[in-house]
Each structure stands twice: as structure tokens, then as C-alpha cells.
């Protein structure tokens, strides 16, 4: 198991097996829902999450097969699209137009170019958006001379940029972490793969446990599908999967459990937060906001919230910096 290539194939094979099992469970639940007894929309959501997971896994194949910049580019495109959904949902005024142009065409590409340049640019890409874009956006909006709801508008653009671009960019950045004994391209890709698998598994598990044991709703006005039971169930299942996959990571078994729990916790938190935003805007999914679009943001909210935290924990505990 010490050979990085073998470990990688084991991980990919294992994930495919887990995916196959959850897909089968999803199909079984759907059949039961069709006969009545189960809520079809919940089962449908469950299956949508599994499909997103399949999609994500195949996207991540790029991480194994191509150089770093291909993965960075793919995440950059996902980022761009989810930011599009976020800003479309957010009311802006014509005075924000120039600032938005900067956000989409200059700040977002710059962030991913910096990430693609590797860990030596960490000092730049970790402050580009939280410091420089944070200051630049209100200034640019102010220069266009529209004061109506100024703070609200700029805060919304900043939040969109932070969640959809800054946070998500930490997922491909995982591949540039310089971890002793974990430096081959296969190792690097496997860390990202581990992260995405745990986060997406958490998404699926949230629906599964909600269906199986959901009783005490955490915040009914935010999301009636998120209960304390599903929260604990998600945390537990992700920790178990993390423990089972520890050999694929630079972590020890216990550490892998802890890291997986952190990913699950942040993923759950991300789903909860995005639900609050959607509730405020009166939509159920970003996907239904504009008919016919997939709702990318609905699928990656957990990754957005978990990526920077997992990145920093891994970096602080293992990477050379």
C-alpha cells in the first residue's frame, strides 16, 4: 500500500464501489417512493446529490490525468458559474455594473491564476479577495455614484466573491500543498479527491439520515430538511468513511476521522447558510431561479464552506511553509 499509484487506484476503486452502493440505495428509495410511502421530492433530492457526486468524481479524474492547471481551470469555471447564479439571485443596481465586471473578469480569473501558480503564491491568493477585492468593490461602486442601499449592495457582492470564488479556490489549492512524503502528483490529486468525496458523501448522507431519522428540526424557517439527527448522522458517517480511507491521506487514522468530521461540519454549515440566503430571496434552489439551469451552487455549497478550513488544517498540521 506504500506505492502512491496503488493507493490512488484503491481510492478511486473504493469510491466507485461506495458510489455504486449509494446509487443502488437511491434507486431502491425511488421505487419505494413511486409505490407511495416516501416523499418523492426528498428521494429525488437524494438522487440529485448522488448524480452530482458522480459528476464531481468524473471531473476529478482530471486531477489524476492532467497537470495542476487543468484542475484549477475546471474549478475556476465552476466558480464562475456559481458566482453567476449568486449574483443573478442578488438584487444589484446599474451602479454596480462596473464593479461586477471587475469581479467576473478580473478578480475571479486572477484568483485562480494565482492558485495555479502553486503554493509559493499562497501569501498573495490568500489575501487577494479578503483584503484587496474587499476594499476595491465598495470604492468602485462609490465612484459610480449611486448611494441607495450602498452597504447592502457591496456586502452582497463581497459575500458572493468570498463564497463562490475565494472559498472554492481552496479546493484546487489543496493540490499545491507541499507535504513531506506526499509530494508525487498522485498523492496531491488524492488529497483533493479525498476532500471532495467526503464533502459530497456528507451531502448525500444528510438526505439519507434526514429521511431515516429526521425529527428535531434545527431552524424551521431556514430549512425544514436539516435536523439534529441528520446533522449527527452526517458527522458520524463521514467520520467512518474518513477512517476507512485514512491510508489514502497524509493523516493517521484518528486524524482522518477528525478531518472528515471537520469537512462534514463545514459542509453542513455551508448548506444551512446557503439555505438562509435562498430563503431570504424566496427561492428553493438556485437551479429554479432561472428555469433550465442546473443549480451549480446548490451542489457545491458544502465544498465552498469546507475547502478553506480543510486546506488550512492540512497546511498547519502537515505542510511545509
Amino acid at each position: 500500500m506504500s506505492d502512491p499509484l496503488t493507493r490512488t487506484w484503491l481510492l478511486v476503486g473504493g469510491v466507485l464501489a461506495v458510489l455504486a452502493v449509494t446509487t443502488a440505495v437511491g434507486q431502491y428509495l425511488r421505487a419505494r417512493a413511486e409505490r407511495g410511502g416516501l416523499n418523492p421530492s426528498v428521494v429525488n433530492d437524494f438522487n440529485l446529490r448522488i448524480r452530482a457526486w458522480w459528476l464531481m468524481s468524473s471531473v476529478l479524474a482530471a486531477a489524476f490525468l492532467f497537470p495542476l492547471w487543468v484542475t484549477v481551470l475546471i474549478f475556476g469555471l465552476i466558480s464562475f458559474w456559481s458566482l453567476r447564479e449568486f449574483i443573478t439571485l442578488t438584487p444589484t443596481r446599474p451602479g454596480d455594473h462596473r464593479a461586477l465586471f471587475w469581479v467576473f473578469f478580473i478578480i475571479t480569473p486572477a484568483q485562480f491564476v494565482l492558485v495555479g501558480m502553486g503554493s509559493q503564491m499562497y501569501g498573495v491568493y490568500s489575501v487577494l479577495i479578503p483584503v484587496y477585492a474587499f476594499l476595491f468593490i465598495p470604492v468602485r461602486v462609490a465612484f459610480s455614484g449611486d448611494a441607495k442601499r450602498f452597504l447592502e449592495r457591496t456586502a452582497k457582492i463581497q459575500a458572493g466573491l468570498m463564497i463562490c470564488v475565494y472559498c472554492l479556490s481552496h479546493a484546487p489549492a489543496l493540490m499545491s500543498l507541499d507535504i513531506p512524503g506526499f509530494r508525487s502528483p498522485w498523492d496531491r490529486a488524492r488529497l483533493l479527491f479525498f476532500f471532495v468525496v467526503i464533502a459530497q458523501f456528507g451531502d448525500v448522507m444528510q438526505y439519507f439520515w434526514q429521511r431515516m431519522a429526521g425529527r428535531r428540526i434545527i431552524a424551521p424557517t431556514i430549512n425544514p430538511n436539516r435536523t439534529w439527527e441528520s446533522f449527527l448522522g452526517t458527522l458520524g458517517s463521514c467520520s467512518l468513511l474518513g477512517a476507512a480511507l485514512y491510508w489514502a491521506t497524509p493523516f493517521g487514522p484518528l486524524e482522518a476521522v477528525g478531518m472528515s468530521a471537520v469537512i462534514a461540519l463545514m459542509g453542513f454549515a455551508g448548506g444551512m447558510t446557503m439555505s438562509a440566503i435562498k430563503r431570504d430571496r424566496g427561492v428553493k434552489d438556485y437551479g429554479t431561479l432561472v428555469t433550465g439551469h442546473g443549480g451549480v451552487l446548490d451542489r457545491i455549497d458544502s465544498i465552498c464552506f469546507a475547502a478553506p478550513v480543510f486546506f488550512h488544517f492540512t497546511r498547519l498540521l502537515h505542510a511545509e511553509w
Binding site: F80, R84, P94, R98, V290
Partner: protein
């Protein structure tokens, strides 16, 4: 199928002499599928001028670009895309509107559909002239000095001929307010001269945020284009009530958009 019964309604004031006169316009394209579906036009004089040289490749590229930039999704509610002669009328909030609506049509419909656009805007730069003439073969209307010769209704009738469709913005200008403006009467006169044309209401949502008035760089937000059920000018329907009915049809599409 509400979209296909228009030929049956071509009864009252349509005369073949009109058709003959209109068919001499320079933009008839020989599209058998479109012409044969409209029996009453078959006795019109054959087209005299050669079709304009539009660039299919650039057109496809530009349509894809418009789709990418404005991220639009297309919905047809109680109607279907069709190559029969139509007038698409829509709300107008952005310079991108004609391009986006045109790009939202399937390519075989697109090839027969000409946007009606403001002359003063579309001749300003080389690129705009090129797009207007070679890509979507726009019918440019002079908004400032209307004479007998460039009367918009006459130009539209000539442009539509026996095969083409038009895209019009009956508000007459880009509207930045939330409410639709009153419609100008052009749509009414067009429908009166050619009661056989299907009038399709279209609601364009969010394109004004992609390219607001006074801006030249687009921001790639997501937009939505909704095509509604065809309507016609009723026999002896007064101008004002027809225009109100047309405007309400667009507003209804917007309400549907917001309910979902």
C-alpha cells in the same frame, strides 16, 4: 396545437395583390418549408432579388456567444418554434435584446428572422454595421426623421415578404423602469396589413442586468427568454384595445416568470 392554426385564420382582409406588392421586397429567401405552410401566399409573385449574403458561420458563433454571455434559458409556453411567418414582440431593456432573442431561436428559424433595430445605434461602428448587415440581417429603422420613403411600417412589410419573420420592440426605446411602457402603434398597423402573421409575445428577463443602458461591457448573469402563445388582430378590433392586449400578453409572461 395553438401555434399551427394561423393559416385558417387568414380570412378577412388579406388580398393577394398585397402579397404580390410585398413580395417584391428585396429580402425574400427561398425557403420552401416556410412558404408551403402558408397556402394563401402561394400565388404571390416570385421573389425578384437575391437573398442577402449573411454569414452563417459568424451567425452561429455570435448566437453561441450571446448564449454564453447572457446565460439565457428559453421557454416556450403554449407555442412552439416554427418557420411560419411571425412577428416576435418583446419588452426592451438592453441593446443586447435583439441579439439575445434572435439567438434564442433555433437556427433554421433564426435564418428567417430579422430583428428590427434602431438605425442610429447600429450604424455607429464598423462592428455594429457588420453584425446588423451580415449576421442578423437587421432591418434598421430611422427613429429621427420618418419620411414617406422610410416609413417603418412599409419597410417592415417589405422586409417580411412571404417567408421572413420579424423581431420588434413595440415600446420603441429601451425602458429602464420596472413597468412596460405603452406600445407604439406599429404592431397594430403591421397586423392590420398582414393579419395572417402570428404575433408572438416574448418576455426577456434579466438581460438589462447583463448589459444595462449606457454600459458597453457585459456582465455574464443568467437570463431567461419566454415565448408565449401566438395572437392575432381580431376583426374590427380597435387599435388601443389591441395594443393593450399585446402589452398584457408580455406582462402575463413576466408574471409567470416571477411566480415560479
Amino acid at each position: 396545437m395553438p401555434g399551427y392554426n394561423s393559416a385558417n385564420r387568414t380570412v378577412t382582409s388579406f388580398e393577394s395583390t398585397d402579397a404580390a406588392m410585398l413580395a417584391t421586397g428585396a429580402h425574400d429567401r427561398d425557403m420552401n418549408s416556410a412558404a408551403s405552410s402558408r397556402g394563401s401566399n402561394d400565388d404571390a409573385a416570385p421573389p425578384t432579388a437575391s437573398p442577402p449574403q449573411t454569414n452563417r458561420f459568424i451567425a452561429g458563433f455570435l448566437a453561441a456567444l450571446a448564449r454564453l454571455l447572457s446565460g439565457f434559458s428559453v421557454r416556450w409556453i403554449d407555442s412552439q418554434p416554427d418557420t411560419c411567418q411571425r412577428v416576435y414582440f418583446a419588452n426592451h431593456t438592453s441593446h443586447l435584446d435583439p441579439l439575445v432573442l434572435w439567438a434564442a431561436l433555433p437556427s433554421e428559424v433564426r435564418a428567417l428572422t430579422r430583428p428590427v433595430a434602431a438605425h442610429d445605434y447600429w450604424i455607429k461602428t464598423w462592428l455594429r454595421r457588420y453584425i446588423a448587415r451580415k449576421v442578423f440581417d437587421a432591418l434598421l429603422i430611422d427613429r429621427e426623421n420618418v419620411t414617406v420613403k422610410n416609413n417603418p411600417i412599409r419597410m417592415m412589410l417589405e422586409a417580411i415578404g412571404t417567408t421572413n419573420s420579424l423581431i420588434v420592440f413595440p415600446e420603441g426605446h429601451r425602458n429602464t423602469a420596472d413597468e412596460l411602457d405603452e406600445f407604439k402603434s406599429g404592431l397594430y398597423y403591421l397586423a392590420k396589413k398582414r393579419p395572417d402573421l402570428e404575433l408572438i409575445p416574448v418576455y426577456i428577463d434579466n438581460v438589462n442586468r447583463v448589459l444595462p443602458r449606457g454600459e458597453f461591457l457585459p456582465v455574464p448573469l443568467l437570463s431567461c427568454i419566454t415565448f408565449g402563445a401566438p395572437m392575432w388582430l381580431e376583426v374590427k378590433e380597435p387599435k388601443d384595445s389591441f395594443l393593450k392586449r399585446a402589452r398584457d400578453a408580455v406582462i402575463r409572461l413576466r408574471e409567470m416568470d416571477r411566480e415560479e
